[in-house]
């Protein structure tokens, strides 16, 4: 023997890290992890492709319908002159004008007939402007008449003026106008909802992974080796840490992909009002609440999943687990919309909805201390859940001999049925 390799006593945390390191490396170097990383990017790619197609369709769409004009010569010229002057200033509200017929003196117009003929000939006309400048008549579909009535009135008014004054150039002076209190409150509520939704999506996507986490150990019969060497609490904690680290890798990759898309598209989150605690702290709190929310849900999922003996059982459990997550999210959202109510307080105190509720609160209120208290409370709950989960696991799964085998075959579904 080269040198002594006597073992040494491991602390709970060190033991958890041994398990976490094994799990993390095993998942990180597995082929399925690539699919896990790439999977959520598919919707982004599909969205980008769909956007591109939509743009293409929009670009290749036919021109907007024109407004045909049938008037006496002088009126018609005046209308065209006024249209040229106003068109560039009305931001598309005034349609392009097209001469349909220049009427001679005494000649009468048949706008409806002319409109039908023009459209039959493939010239896209929305309506016909006829009559005189004093009494313009607009003939066309109801939709176009409503849209164009006002602009045509302006057009006729300007055309009637013999020497119209030039339209003055308006100097633009953009400035950040202080939002009203109502605007800010509404905007922060939107930010809170967006943050809660993002947190929910990430947790729903990632926390479910923990469900099947102990199936590998049970299938490969390693669980007893682990349970003999280190406390089950350490096994549970280690598995949670590993999956949290994996989820952070996933978020980092997806975040980077989102950043690249942002750079490419030039779109940002400017549409969201800055949260009350400021963006940097909000992001930090978001990560902290994600971590603790993940650990909270994960510890329960791990316990439930640990009693499953097959992957099929885990799959069966996925649906109710997902529904439970959705309920928790709705509870937190409902509480946030009823500020100061018992429901809001309940959503803050209830461990599973607490991360959602508090992240929403960070967007709306600027105080820091409630977050420190909430993080402490959530961390305490994680420890309690892990201890209880490990206890249940030892009580219900780590039985031996023939009885243990029967219990393993029955699995969690039987346990739930009994409960």
């Amino acid at each position: 023997m080269s040198e002594s390799t006597k073992g040494g006593r491991l602390s709970l945390l060190s033991a958890a890290l041994v398990v976490a390191r094994r799990d993390f490396m095993a998942v990180l170097w597995s082929r399925s992890f690539i699919f896990f990383l790439v999977g959520p990017l598919f919707p982004l790619v599909v969205g980008a492709l769909a956007g591109s197609v939509t743009n293409h369709v929009e670009n290749s769409a036919p021109d907007y319908p024109k407004l045909g004009v049938i008037m006496q010569g002088a009126d018609l010229d005046a209308v065209l002159t006024a249209g040229a002057a106003l068109g560039s200033r009305m931001n598309g509200d005034l349609p392009d004008l097209a001469i349909v017929k220049r009427l001679k003196a005494g000649e009468t117009a048949h706008p409806a007939k002319a409109l039908a003929q023009e459209n039959a000939a493939g010239r896209d006309m929305g309506a016909i402007l006829s009559g005189t400048l004093a009494h313009p008549v607009l003939t066309g579909s109801r939709e176009h008449l409503q849209d164009w009535q006002g602009p045509v009135s302006l057009l006729a008014a300007r055309a009637r003026t013999q020497t119209p004054a030039p339209l003055p150039e308006v100097a633009l002076s953009p400035t950040a106008v202080a939002a009203t209190q109502a605007d800010t409150g509404h905007g922060r509520m939107m930010t809170a909802q967006a943050a809660q939704t993002l947190l929910f999506l990430l947790m729903m996507l990632l926390a479910g992974m923990v469900l099947s986490n102990l199936v590998e150990e049970k299938a490969n019969k390693i669980i007893e080796v682990l349970a003999a060497a280190i406390p089950m609490d350490a096994v549970f904690l280690g598995k949670l840490f590993a999956m949290l680290a994996i989820s952070m890798v996933g978020i980092a990759v997806w975040g980077a992909a989102g950043g690249v898309l942002h750079l490419v598209s030039g779109q940002g989150i400017q549409f969201l009002t800055a949260p009350a605690v400021g963006w940097p702290l909000f992001v930090v709190l978001g990560i902290a609440y994600f971590g603790l929310g993940y650990l909270l849900l994960g510890s329960v999922f791990l316990t439930i999943g640990s009693m499953a003996s097959t992957v099929r059982e885990v799959q069966t459990l996925s649906m109710p687990v997902t529904m439970a997550q959705i309920l928790v999210f709705f509870f937190a959202s409902y509480g946030m919309a009823r500020e100061g109510s018992p429901v809001e307080w309940a959503s803050i105190v209830f461990p599973f909805s607490s991360p959602f509720a508090m992240l929403g609160r960070a967007a709306i209120h600027g105080e820091i201390w409630p977050h420190l208290a909430a993080l402490g409370w959530q961390a305490l709950c994680v420890l309690i859940f892990v201890r209880v989960g490990a206890y249940i696991f030892r009580r219900r799964v780590m039985q031996s001999g023939a009885q243990g085998a029967v219990k393993k075959k029955r699995g969690v579904l039987e346990i739930l049925r009994k409960a």
Binding site: M1, S2, E3, S4, T5, K6, G7, G8, R9, L10, S14, A15, V18, R21, R22, A26, S30, E216, N220, K221, I222, E224, V225, L226, A227, A228, A229, I230, P231, R394, M398, Q399, S400, G401, A402, Q403, G404, K407
Partner: protein, 325 residues
């Protein structure tokens, strides 16, 4: 005189420090009592066998000793600690249901098992390579567990059980699943561990292993331990058997044979009388029985098991052995 000697031996055994001491351990599962008041005293450095049929409570007892599960009542002390996980760095354990992570290479698996017992991972992996070489398995070092035969994987796991140089090694049914050659190797390994002062406990339902290896055994049946002590003491629970062959078949000498005498072919079989063999010999000679042969055979552990645990438990033990085959 003999009883005094036994007491002296027992006292001398008891004076040895104990690797494991359990008293009145009880464990129930769903109203069924799996272990019902087990007492064990395992001296340091001993090879100790826990002998019993499947379902007798062997694994549950070992799991309670290891701290995998807690007893409902009773006392346990392992390597001086009442909390087994506090001394898990000095314990090696091979469970009955063997298993390793299939994607791990052999040296990684040994390193991981060492890391669970407090050996730094790199050091454990290095030691894993050395152990594989030492045991003629160097060619497996870089091979994944999933690419190995069941026997090879089991050998790797045994080495992983020892990588941290434990003071106490617990094997649960270590011989099941091994061929005769590897069973022999494992027996050698167990003897070598004991020679270095390591305490080895193993459970088995194969009496031959216990008889060959153990200094002491605990016989367990129905969750109880009717006997725990030196193997010789277990054998001494039943009297030696006398096998007698005579030229004459009838005669007055027949009256000298004990009441439990039975005939098997040419032989008369009976328990050694309390008074010893000399009065019997005298009666046989005087009665002109014509002694052709007479041998006194000490009882085997199997006979002792039958005598101690009962015929039903012995039948279950034999059935367990047949299942394993």
């Amino acid at each position: 005189m003999r009883a005094d000697l036994e007491d002296a031996v027992r006292e001398s055994n008891d004076s040895r420090p104990l690797a494991i001491e359990v008293r009145a351990l009880v464990k129930r599962f769903n109203g069924t009592t799996a272990v019902d008041g087990v007492d064990l005293r395992v001296p340091e450095g001993a090879i100790y066998g826990i002998l019993g049929p499947n379902g007798a409570g062997k694994t549950t007892t070992l799991r309670m000793i290891l701290g995998i599960i807690d007893p409902d009542s009773g006392f346990r002390r392992v390597l001086g600690s009442e909390r087994p996980h506090d001394v898990s760095h000095a314990i090696g354990y091979l469970p009955e249901e063997r298993g390793l992570y299939p994607a791990m290479k052999a040296y990684e698996a040994i390193g991981f098992l060492g890391a669970l017992r407090g050996v730094p991972l790199a050091k454990g992996r290095q030691r894993g390579r050395e152990l594989l070489e030492e045991h003629g398995l160097g060619h497996l070092a870089e091979r994944q567990i999933r690419q190995m035969s069941k026997g090879q994987a089991q050998q790797v796991q045994v080495l992983g059980t020892l990588v941290h140089e434990p003071r106490l090694v617990i094997f649960d049914e270590p011989f099941s699943g091994l061929d005769a050659i590897n069973q022999g190797r494992l027996e050698q390994m167990i003897r070598a561990l004991a020679a270095k002062g390591t305490t080895v406990i193993f459970s088995t339902h194969v009496i031959a292993h216990a008889e060959r290896l153990c200094d002491e055994v605990a016989i367990i049946a129905g969750g109880r331990v009717p006997f725990a002590g030196p193997v010789d003491e277990a054998r001494d629970r039943i009297r030696p058997q006398v096998r007698l062959e005579t030229r004459a078949h009838e005669g007055a000498w027949r009256a000298a044979l004990p009441a439990d005498t039975r005939q098997e072919g040419r032989f008369w079989l009976f328990s050694l009388p309390e008074s010893g063999v000399e009065p019997l010999l005298r009666a046989l000679i005087e009665g002109d029985a014509g002694i052709l042969s007479l041998s006194i055979e000490r009882a085997g552990l199997h006979d002792a098991f039958v005598a101690i645990a009962g015929a039903a438990a012995a039948k279950a033990l034999d059935a367990s052995g047949e299942e394993a085959l």
